[in-house]
């Protein structure tokens, strides 16, 4: 009885320690699994990404370098509380009906991505037909075709939103990205490398 009483007296300390442990290590891991925008590439997807970690790992296989230490993949809902990371993303996959809403965030595609038959993995189609033009300039490459249900990275991205009709999705580059030399303050063209890695996904 005495031991049980003593145990009950310790329960608040045990609960407090478990909570402290979760918060402390969660906070430490946030730092460990993130880095400065200069050293990471980001992809924001305007759809559910059930396996964002798996997709990030696949993209890291092709996109990592001395300067780039990680690739982060998030759904748009990740930026629910703070829109800044979304606005400064390097690449986007966006539902076509939302392009107009966000179009100020997008940069025109460089010729390297639009010229000729860019590698688009198993999602092969004439590149001209898959470009999204805004004011005559190419801004997006179609990565999901709603009419045929074909698209890239369907093992990682769920393009079917039960609340919305099926629509095409386009890969876009970020206007605020630090990894596009055409942008103001852009330091390299790693965003294009990431875009190519995305397009090369089966």
């Amino acid at each position: 009885m005495e031991k049980l009483k003593r145990f009950w007296n310790l329960v608040p300390a045990l609960i407090l320690w478990a909570m402290l442990s979760i918060f402390l290590w969660g906070w430490i891991f946030t730092f460990l699994t993130d880095t400065a925008p200069e050293n990471k590439l980001t992809l924001f997807v305007d759809a559910a990404v059930p396996d964002s970690t798996g997709l990030a790992v696949r993209l890291e296989e092709n996109a990592l370098s001395d300067e780039i230490r990680m690739v982060k993949v998030h759904p748009f809902s990740y930026a629910m509380l703070d829109g800044e990371p979304l606005r400064r993303a390097d690449t986007y996959i966006v539902r076509v009906s939302h392009v107009e809403e966000y179009w100020e965030w997008f940069a025109p595609l460089p010729e390297r991505l639009t010229a000729g038959a860019a590698p688009v993995g198993s999602y092969q189609q004439p590149i001209g037909a898959s470009l999204l033009l805004l004011d005559g300039a190419p801004y997006g490459i179609r990565v999901y075709d709603a009419a045929t249900g074909t698209g890239i990275a369907q093992a990682f991205i769920d393009y079917h939103d039960p609340a919305l009709p099926d629509e095409d999705y386009y890969l876009m580059l970020g206007k605020e990205s630090l990894h596009l030399t055409a942008n103001e303050g852009g330091q390299d063209d790693k965003a294009i490398l990431l875009a190519e890695a995305i397009l090369a996904l089966p």
């Binding site: 003593r6 310790l10 300390a13 442990s21 290590w25 891991f29 699994t33 970690t53 990680m70 690739v71």
Partner: protein
């Protein structure tokens, strides 16, 4: 006389408390080292699994430390402190019959105390007993000789027939 309190026993309790404290410190250091090691192995692909492993390691090591402190270190240290505090006081020997009262109470930060009534030829005294020794008391009504220090029974001996 069965002496329950002695400086040797108090020293043994002190050593046990010290060993327990070192074990807790070693456990904490080991747990922290394991967590830091896992942190160095974090990659994008294993981050969520490693976070769960680190939280589990840290939580279990912390719980083990808390339980050891609560169940071993503190009671042992309290016993040692209580014993040493009484050993330097004057002892008195009394004879009579003992009756253990129900219930007990904890001296804050120290031991659990049970109340005992000692009926001598002249009077009935209320004494204190370290609850740890309650099971060692002879059956109620047995004639005993006890050593008392600051109203705490520190030794007890059953008086054989004819000895009284």
């Amino acid at each position: 006389m069965n002496a329950w309190y002695s400086e040797e026993l108090a020293a043994r309790y002190q050593n046990r408390a010290r060993r327990c404290l070192w074990f807790v410190v070693a456990l904490a250091v080991l747990g922290l080292a394991a967590c830091i090691f896992m942190c160095t192995k974090v990659r994008t692909g294993n981050a969520s699994r490693l976070l769960a492993a680190v939280i589990l390691t840290s939580t279990l090591a912390g719980w083990a430390a808390i339980l050891l402190i609560g169940f071993v270190y503190r009671p042992t240290k309290a016993q040692a402190g209580h014993m040493l505090g009484l050993m330097n006081t004057e002892a008195e020997t009394l004879t009579g019959t003992l009756a253990l009262e129900k219930g007990g109470f904890r001296i804050p930060g120290s031991i659990v105390v049970r109340k005992v009534r000692l009926r001598t030829e002249d009077e009935t005294l209320t004494l204190n007993l370290n609850a740890r020794y309650a099971a060692k008391l002879p059956p109620e009504g047995t004639p005993v000789k006890v050593t008392v220090r600051r109203k705490f029974i520190t030794a007890c001996e059953v008086i054989q027939d004819g000895e009284a």
